[in-house]
């Protein structure tokens, strides 16, 4: 079995491809509408920022609060959309809608209830931000500390 795994690792290691795409997963939004990650977020040259968060994750909420304050400015400069992917499972999922509205966030919210998208992207810790342009993952930001949003904006401008 060990040999098998070693062979497998070597085999796959040879074919590693940096041009990673988003997985073909469908998630529902707050209105209950199903959206496909690959087909519904594919406008040419538009930048899609998928920000993974949860209602119980304080740094995630800090990040989305900060970004919400500057989003209007960013949109003046760039053709972009921020999608806040809530990884809350059914324990805290009902808290998403009042929290999002309570905070007055302007994001598109997607519900990753059983963490299908999070798992497909091998995300271990949130906050975690994936930037997609023309169907390809062009940038990943792992974690959030105050100031990360400035660095992210500089990166987005360079795309």
């Amino acid at each position: 079995m060990k040999k098998l795994i070693t062979i497998l690792i070597c085999l796959f290691g040879l074919f590693l491809n940096a041009q990673t795409q988003m997985p073909n997963v469908s998630l529902t939004d707050l209105e209950g509408k199903k959206l496909s990650i690959t087909n519904d977020f594919n406008e040419k040259d538009k930048i899609y920022v998928f920000s993974f968060w949860a209602t119980w994750c304080t740094p995630c909420i800090n990040e989305l609060d900060e970004m919400n304050d500057v989003l209007a400015d960013w949109k003046k400069e760039l053709n972009l959309e921020v999608i806040a992917v809530a990884t809350d499972d059914s324990r805290t999922q009902k808290r998403i809608k009042p929290l999002v509205n309570g905070k007055g966030w302007e994001y598109k919210i997607l519900l990753d209830s059983n963490q299908d998208l999070k798992r497909a992207l091998s995300i271990v810790n949130i906050p975690y931000t994936v930037v997609v342009k023309n169907g390809v993952i062009v940038h990943i930001q792992n974690g959030y500390v105050p100031g990360s949003e400035n660095e992210l904006y500089q990166k987005l401008k360079s795309l």
Binding site: L4, Q19, G32, D65, D89, P98, I123, I140, N142, G147
Partner: protein
């Protein structure tokens, strides 16, 4: 053998499609611990904390996916060396292939063979998921077929056996879930209305001679979701057919054959700057495992449904000492401790004082209030043979838990942000943990973030808990320094200074740092682990007290 056939299949497909360009992706995660002896750190029996037989242990996961056209293939290798981390399921050992799958997916059809993750409705009848921090991977190995002919109709059917360690359960699971977006069918313009039905069956033979229960246990559920502009309501009802109750670990009770049910109701209203949400839940005899005897095992092994505690998940350390766990089980062995389920609910309120208002100030002030309370089910319990019980539908029995909390977040200027929290908890330890005692707590937490410049900042968090019994008072401090966006250093201490036993007034200190770059995160820490329950998403794992170094790495590609 299955694995070899599967690998062969992958390789063949790989060659068939080699002219086409497929895409690889995956991830790697490893969590390692080096347990040390700590002579000054005594457990409740005054034995110093000592390292286990193999002091150096790690749990590692390598996930590889290959996607080409409508096909996806995945395989996850896992290693637990020298052993799994303390108090993980001992069935996780050595190096092996944990899960694998092949999937074909187009607009209308989605077929998966191998291991898959699925959830029906809120998960009260079926949820398979992976939580590495808790050692849960209860994916089903079998086949799943999803048919979605139009936007408003989805039918899922599945069959499989559940993963347990590197093996699968003896119990065989099958199920179907149907969801219909009625608002699309009826062309309702301003409202959303969705209904769903599901059924899950478990087929498990038994060794018991003359069983009074069926090999087959069936469950049925129905749900409805409605929203109209700012208002929304949803409900779910589930029923589990009669089956033998397992009260004591490893003991099927052939004389107590009961059905189970669950009711969930959620109502909310929210508009910009304001949100309110209320949830009610009643559970009766609703634990469901892929093997009867797995019930109550401490590793959450072969758990088939998801019954989280519906309370606020606090991020303060001291608020996570007395954590409620949902009580779906039946116990009637002891007259002073009888349980058949739980009843209760919670209310959430979110309000944003606008920028420029008196309380809002320049940057706005955010307030969150939450209250939850849970009781046992009231009813009649017959302790002596024949054992039996009957419950009343909407009446509250013994109080198990309550939590009232308030959180105020305020940004003062470009540099300062503060969060203030007050929490009041009641925890009936006797009933929740099936031991003894009850605890009332008051917790105050304050958090401040200060930005030195756009990328350097410090976060401090101070907490105090007044508890009237058990381990009594605690204090905690945390300081976290962010040097740029990639590097973080932290020190923290939890101090149980109020413990009546002076030998157990421990400091649970920890020093650590983490480095992040793109999709990679590395962290190294040294410190003491508080013994007790580690909970993620309302599901808990017991961990013993320990001291040592921990190292973790994770990355995706």
């Amino acid at each position: 053998m299955n694995k070899k056939i599967f690998l062969g299949f992958i390789l063949i497909t790989f060659n068939l499609f080699s002219q086409e360009k497929g895409v690889f992706s995956g991830g790697f995660e490893s969590n390692a611990q080096w347990y040390l002896n700590d002579p000054c750190f005594l457990d409740e029996f005054y034995n110093p904390v000592s390292h286990p037989e193999n002091p150096l242990r790690s749990n590692s996961y390598l996930l590889l996916n290959y996607k080409i056209k409508n096909w996806s293939f995945g395989i996850q290798g896992e290693s637990y060396l020298q052993d799994a981390l303390l108090n993980y399921n001992p069935k996780y050992e050595n190096v092996n292939i944990g899960t694998y799958f092949a999937q074909y997916k187009n607009e209308k059809i989605d077929v998966t063979a191998g291991y898959f993750y699925e959830q029906f409705g809120s998960g009260l009848l079926l949820r398979t998921w992976e939580d590495r921090a808790l050692g849960i991977n209860n994916s089903l190995r079998g086949i799943r077929f999803i048919y979605k002919p139009t936007n408003y109709f989805t039918l899922k059917t599945l069959y499989g056996q559940q993963r347990t360690g590197f093996d699968v359960s003896k119990g065989k699971i099958f199920g179907a879930d149907l969801e219909l977006a009625l608002s699309d069918v009826l062309k309702m313009e301003n409202s959303d209305l969705t209904i769903g039905f599901n059924s899950v069956g478990r087929y498990e033979k038994t060794d018991i001679v003359d069983p009074n229960f069926d090999k087959l246990t069936m469950t049925y559920g129905g749900r409805v979701n409605y929203s109209h502009s700012s208002f929304y309501i949803s409900s779910e009802f589930d029923y589990k057919s009669k089956d033998a109750v397992v009260q004591v670990r490893n003991q099927i009770d052939n004389n107590l054959i009961k059905s189970g049910n669950a009711l969930l109701l959620n109502v909310g209203y929210s508009k910009k700057g304001f949100g309110v949400d209320g949830t009610f839940r009643r559970l009766e005899n609703m634990s469901f495992y892929s093997e009867r005897l797995a019930k109550g095992n401490q590793y959450n092994d072969m758990i088939l449904n998801y019954v989280p505690s519906l309370t606020k998940q606090h991020h303060y350390n001291l608020a996570n000492i007395y954590v409620y766990q949902a009580q779906p089980n039946v116990i009637i062995n002891d007259a002073s401790l009888v349980k058949a389920g739980e009843i209760g609910g919670q209310i959430d309120l979110f309000y944003n004082f606008k920028k420029g208002s008196k309380i809002g100030g320049k940057y706005g002030t955010k307030v969150a209030v939450n209250y939850s309370q849970y009781h046992g089910l009231a009813g009649t319990f017959y302790i002596y043979s024949p054992q039996d019980y009957s419950t009343e539908f909407l009446s509250f029995g013994k109080k198990y838990f309550s939590d009232a909390n308030l959180e105020i977040t305020k940004k003062w200027d470009e540099k300062w942000q503060t969060v203030f929290t007050y929490i009041n908890q009641y925890y009936n330890k006797k009933f929740v943990e099936e031991t003894y005692g009850e605890v009332k707590t008051n917790i105050i937490g304050a958090e401040a973030i200060y930005k030195f410049n756009p990328t350097h900042s410090v976060r401090t968090q101070a907490e105090h808990m007044w508890a009237n019994s058990d381990k009594k008072n605690w204090a905690a401090l945390l300081a976290e320094f962010n040097f740029g966006t990639k590097y973080t250093f932290y020190v923290s201490d939890l101090y149980n200074y109020g413990n009546e036993d002076s030998r157990l007034r421990h400091h649970y200190f920890s020093v650590g740092n983490s480095f992040r770059y793109k999709s990679t995160r590395l962290s190294l820490a040294y410190g003491r682990q508080r013994g007790g329950l580690v909970c993620v998403g309302g599901v808990c794992r017991f961990v013993p007290e320990s001291t040592g170094f921990s190292f973790s790495i994770n990355t995706s590609f």
